[in-house]
Amino acid sequence: MGLPGWGSRRAIEGDFVAFYRARGAHLRNTAYLLCGDWHLAEDLTQIAFTKLYRAWRRIDRRDTLDQYARKVLLRAFLDERRHPWRREYPTEPGSAALDVATSDDDATESRLHAALMRLPRRRRAVLVLRFWADMSVDQVADAMNTTTGTVKSQTARGLAQLRELLNDTRVDCDSIEESMR
């Protein structure tokens, strides 16, 4: 393989597919934690990988692919939330492939999920990226196009709000939909 970004088309496609297979699931999980909807998470992941494919030649270092992909994903998520048509249904429901089985153990997860979804989306994004995706403050600031100070303050507020929400017995699944509008 030649210099990154200057490979042949076939080599790029091979690298792209390999990267998707290696990191696609993680990126989709990140998307799901951000948006709380598997349909939209699938869409956001596709958007991120599509933009990544277009930019493949411009990315000089392979070790920055992950950071680039997460940045694109985050911005796609934030952009998607600005679209009026996204405020109702992220994706037309009905795809059986995206249906998820539920179990009796889901109650706790649903409560946790509801609490996370009730955070303002940028605050939620900071927490997910910092503590689940293990991104540094600088990386999160870069991805969100904001300052490190803002990331730190959003982190502190997000943690406090999350604790408060988790102690709030009123948090339930119905609140997810409301918080996403």
């Binding site: 496609e13 998707y20 990988f49 411009r58 706790t108």
Partner: protein
Amino acid sequence: MNDVKDICDRILERPAPPMRDSERVLTIAQRSARRQARITVTMGGLVAAAIVAITAAAGTLDGAPGTPRPAVLLTSVASPSLSPAPDWEKTGPDTARFAQLLAEALPAGYRSQPAFGTHGTDTWTSADSYASRTQLVVSTGKGQGMLSATVVKDGAAAPSGDLCAAAVTARLDAYNPDGDANCQVITIDGVPIRATTTAKGSTATRFLADGFLIVDWHPSWQVPFTIQQLATVAATVQIPE
């Protein structure tokens, strides 16, 4: 901190739906890239005339109305994977498609517009051979220049030895005489490219199974475009079928 990670992990413990397979993701990405390129080419066609007009005006301002335009003749070629030259002697050249492919092969930060409407494309054909040139006006934030790509189908096999050898030069001279050029061979991803430089510009030649592709660069306003970059364009641009 770990609480948040635990919360996320627990949320994700629920079974997730199957992921979209990689081939599907790639197909969608490729389709999107092609759509974007088509839009660029279409918009570029509208802008090209304006750019060429500006270029002409700049030439006048230089006080050199007789200044020769960047050479539109074949310059040099580079051939990576011995793709066959397209059958344009039968079907006619698809220069719009080739302009799109050429634009996709440019390095990052380089914008392009097809030089349609002026001398953007030219094709010479005979019964079983042709030479078809496609030009792009390539620009960066610092300036612009003219990139020409010429597909030549002459029916001859690709040379097996030194691409700077006299026999190769003689073959190319029929299309692109560059007698005093400095010649070197640059290999891009296993594809040998004949790269030449003259006072007028740079040329990269990639040999095809039955012809060759010449990509040459004539800077107008100090746009950096190294011979290595030019060779990479020649090596990576997709040859239309």
